[in-house]
């Protein structure tokens, strides 16, 4: 199961986003293409639903025994817990309940929180989206912008500098970078808070609240941005390099356009195409959060929720997050496929 946006992303070195797209066979109609893609996505979704139930039950460990570990519990108490969790029913019945639940939008009730899983996911999605969304916007903006500059001046000091810097950050373990930033800027310098999303006691909705959340956001966002922007930079750079020898640029220059205009108005729009896939994959991964970053910075988001569900093991919560996360990624991939086809006439007419 993939719950980590960082691991989700493509390798920037081999990064030409086009590889991730199955080019439709020449001459295929849009209807057929759509059917094939949607059908594939539906099959994937079905697999996710099946896997969501069985994968976590194959794992060793009895949730009730784990919860009751080192506690003075009588066999009767354990039986009561088992019944409360529905674990006393035969596996087939449990699976049926799960299936019916999924198709009626009911993902079950968390063992630990005693709240509907769908409600928990909805609650914890906001902090996660705030974090991953801010980081994604920064990473995409920074990566694309630096990537196109680097390509335009390939071989220059700037190119080498930005490319290698981004790759160094890409290679740095997220956990390590996060702890280091935490230690320096929160622990020692005390410029920023050491964890959480909001200081306790801050009135919600006030300006103070906004500023407080922003302060808590800085370190995790820097960490997440630093470790992923490289892929945008590399894809953009590679893609723009491919365009640089194109004839239409010579034409544009011949028309007497300034170099910046040639780049920004002619070359970059064409070079942007391969990054579309990347962006959509990234959006699909937004909701899965970033377990590592959320854990180090104690961010109360979905990543942390999942992390704790695993240690539970809180089976309904695990199943629910697994199904929701995987579905988000599958749907976003489908959208990327469809939109890419619309955006790039060459794929359509090939």
């Amino acid at each position: 199961m993939s719950v980590n946006a960082e691991t989700e992303a493509a390798d920037p070195q081999s990064a030409d986003g086009r590889e991730d797209i199955d080019a439709p066979p020449p001459g295929q109609s849009f209807g057929g293409y759509l059917l094939r893609k949607v059908g594939g996505a539906l099959i994937s979704l079905l697999m996710v639903v099946l896997l969501g139930f069985f994968a976590f039950r194959i794992l060793p460990g009895d949730p009730v025994q784990k919860i009751a570990r080192e506690r003075q519990m009588s066999p009767e108490q354990m039986e009561l817990l088992r019944a409360e969790y529905g674990l006393d029913k035969p596996l087939v019945v449990q699976f049926w309940d799960y299936l019916v639940g999924i198709f009626t939008g009911n993902l079950g009730t968390s063992y630990v929180y005693r709240e509907p899983v769908s409600q928990l996911i909805a609650e914890y999605a906001w902090p996660t989206l705030l974090l991953t969304g801010s980081a994604a916007i920064l990473a995409i903006g920074l990566g694309l912008w630096m990537g196109q500059l680097a390509a335009w001046k390939r071989g220059s000091l700037f190119d080498k500098l930005t490319t290698s810097t981004s790759l160094v950050f890409w290679s740095v373990p997220t956990f390590w970078l996060a702890l280091l930033l935490l230690m320096i800027f929160a622990g020692r310098l005390q410029w920023l808070p050491t964890g959480g999303m909001v200081s306790p006691g801050v009135e919600s909705g006030s300006l103070e609240h906004v500023v407080d959340v922003a302060k808590h956001l800085i370190l995790p966002v820097i960490t997440m941005t630093a470790v992923v922007y490289a892929q945008y930079l590399m894809v953009m750079r590679a893609s723009l390099l491919g365009e640089m020898s194109a004839d239409y640029l010579t034409t544009a220059r011949a028309k007497g356009l300034r170099e910046d205009d040639v780049r920004l108005k002619h070359a970059v729009p064409n070079a942007l195409l391969p990054t579309v896939t990347l962006v959509f994959m990234h959006i699909g991964g937004l909701i899965t959060g970033a377990v590592t970053v959320e854990t180090v910075f104690s961010w109360p988001g979905l990543g942390k929720l999942t992390y704790e569900a695993i240690s539970g093991p809180d089976l309904p919560l695990l199943q629910g997050t697994f199904v929701v996360f995987s579905s988000a990624i599958i749907i976003m991939n489908l959208l990327a496929d469809l939109i890419y086809r619309q955006l790039d006439p060459r794929v359509r007419r090939a």
Binding site: E70, Q77, K160, S164, G196
Partner: protein
């Protein structure tokens, strides 16, 4: 050319720089709000990562809410801070009938709940009766009232508990008493999360709970021992323990517990931080499969035949250099162990005597010889063509367990035992030990102040069936002698005699080598001495502040008289840390520069 490049470069890192600028401009100290609050009201912040199911004392089974409810609800009888002995709770005194079946408690007069309603015997009766009559209300503590026959309020201030069978351990401990006037009004008391408008009787009441963010407790002015001096206790969520340490350094939290030896050492020199190395309630042991059997005597599992031989088990213990192991693995943050009742329970702990052996590999070899295991050509002992090979299960996620394995392997080899360390995850280990599919594994328990429960899970009757259903057993141990001693201590009302029986039982368990107790780990904690003082440890002598069996740790705490906000000397200056920070964020930029072999051919 270069300046152009630099300009581009500066622009390129604009986003990062902007973020950093925002950071600086927003840099009011991160703990400003807490500091302002402390001017008129004191708030102690405690770092936690504990999961919370709910705060319902009838159903909550997680550690963190259980620990918090100790501060919110007074019990009938408390464990004291000096030596865990039973002491006054809601009851100011109690009497036991000679046969140990009738326990009569006198409830102190004039006590009030936090909503000013009087606390009476009816509240006690209501609480116990709920747990006895409704299994759902006994979800958390039902086993504690299993032996209760009737509970009655003979008058407004007297509660009489009649037990089914006599027992020596005080039945009034551990169970939080709730206000009847609140709980009898709830539609579904067992399903209630009890995290809003909580009415309690302990030193603090639960003010608010934000899942995965904070838990806020407010001092209860009606607490019968007097209101605590710290007005607010706030648990702040820090998932990562290194982040907890940084939060303590930064003053974002005032107390952390459960530190690793490395973290404790790092904090020992820190400004305004004091550490506490406390004797905990835990033991760590090498669990031995000396022949898993169901209560009906049916053998199951894959335990090595050799381990059924007492001499082999004795030899294993003699082959372990306990002192070295403790010093190396725990960096000496652990106490020397005898049996499974830790030394912090001084009364019940099995004292050291000449019956407690120390490392002696030669004696170990002799015992193995006697048991018929003779040394083979490769140095590993054999009997009837079978090698003396044993499996040790370790949790791959626990570095200490890995280290234990590394130390034991050569020591076991030395006495001719081939030790195979099998590393896996805790769930697999739990499944395998339940199924008896192991020879040895590393285990541990937190023991309660009265050893009754821990002893009970070592009796023959406490063994589960082969599927792991039924009761819980510590080591699958079964001994008639032990069971007799357990039964005797269970009903012996004369405490000194009971202590004697408990010691005999522990000695029996030790002699039978049902497990090899390795050590009692210390609980490592640290607090901001510039903000708070006066914590009470349990036991008073060398005990712990957090995770107590009581409410003493923070009850006596008070704000430090003169808060020293200065950074003080020592360590690197802030400017140096700014330097390091910039170096890290921009450090990678230097790498390509250094790697650059030729001058840039800037095409711009």
């Amino acid at each position: 050319m270069l300046s152009h490049t630099l300009r581009r470069c500066a622009a390129g890192t604009m986003a990062l720089a902007l973020t950093a600028l925002t950071a600086t401009s927003l840099t009011a100290p991160a703990s400003a709000s807490t500091e302002q609050a402390s001017a008129d009201e004191s708030t102690m912040r405690i770092a936690t990562s504990g999961q919370v199911d709910n705060f319902n004392p009838f159903t909550s089974i997680y550690l963190t809410p259980t620990a918090i409810n100790r501060y919110v609800y007074e019990n009938l009888v408390q464990y004291d801070s000096t030596d865990f002995g039973p002491t006054e709770g809601l009851a100011e005194s109690w009497e036991t009938s000679d046969d140990g079946k009738e326990w009569t408690y006198t409830i102190r007069e004039g006590m009030k709940w936090s909503d000013n309603e009087p606390i009476t015997a009816d509240d006690v009766v209501y609480t116990y009766t709920q747990m006895m009559e409704d299994p759902a209300m006994g979800a958390a503590n039902g086993s504690l009232v299993q032996n209760f026959d009737t509970v009655e309020a003979t008058d407004e201030h007297t509660v009489a508990i009649t037990l089914k069978e006599p027992q020596a351990p005080n039945p009034g401990v551990e169970i939080p008493i709730v206000p009847e006037h609140i709980w009898s009004e709830k539609d579904d008391p067992a399903g209630d999360d009890n995290d809003t408008e909580v009415v309690g009787s302990g030193p603090y009441t639960l003010e608010s709970y934000e899942a995965n963010q904070s838990i806020t407790l407010k001092a209860n002015p009606n607490f019968w021992r007097g209101a605590p001096k710290v007005d607010t206790i706030q648990y702040a969520y820090y998932t990562n323990s290194d982040a907890q340490v940084q939060a303590l350094r930064a003053g974002d939290v005032d107390f952390v517990t459960g530190l690793s030896p490395e973290q404790l050492k790092a904090l020992e020199g820190a400004d305004n931080v004091e550490t506490n190395i406390g004797e905990s309630r835990r033991f760590t042991a090498l669990g031995i499969n000396s022949g898993a059997e169901t209560p009906e005597g049916e053998a199951y599992g894959t335990g090595a035949e050799a381990l059924k031989d007492l001499k082999v088990r004795q030899a294993l213990r003699l082959g372990i250099d306990m002192d070295t192991l403790r010093e190396q693995v725990m960096q000496d943050y652990a106490t020397e162990a005898t049996s499974f009742v830790p030394e912090s329970f001084e009364k019940w702990h099995l004292p050291k005597s000449d019956r407690i052996v120390s490392s002696d590999p030669e004696a170990a070899k002799k015992l193995l010889d006697e048991a018929g295991w003779t040394e083979g050509s490769d140095g590993i002992r054999e009997k009837d063509g079978e090698k003396l090979s044993l499996r040790l299960l370790t949790d791959a996620q626990e570095p200490t367990e890995q280290t234990i394995g590394e130390f034991l392997t050569p020591w076991m080899k030395d006495i001719g035992v081939d030790l195979k360390v099998e590393s896996s995850d805790s769930d697999t280990i739990s499944d395998r030990t339940t199924a008896g599919d192991y020879d040895m594994y590393i285990t541990g328990w937190s023991v309660t102040p009265d050893p009754e429960f821990q002893l009970s899970i070592n009796t023959c009757a406490s063994r589960p069936d082969a599927e792991g259903n039924g009761p819980t057993s510590q080591d699958g141990y079964c001994s008639e002698t032990f069971d007799e001693l357990y039964a005797k201590q269970h009903t012996e009302l004369d405490e000194s005699k009971r202590v004697e029986y408990v010691h005999q039982a522990l000695q029996q368990h030790y002699d039978d080598v049902a497990q090899i107790t390795l050590w009692y780990p210390n609980q490592l904690e640290a607090f901001r001495s510039d903000r708070f003082t006066g914590f009470t440890t349990q036991p008073t002598d060398g005990g712990v502040i957090g995770n107590q069996s009581g409410y003493w740790g923070f009850l006596s705490a008070e704000p430090a008289a003169e808060a020293d906000a200065g950074d003080g000397g020592g360590g690197l200056s802030p400017i140096a840390w700014v330097g390091i920070g910039i170096a890290v964020l921009a450090g990678a930029i230097g790498v390509p520069l250094a790697l650059r072999r030729r001058k840039s051919d800037d095409r711009a």
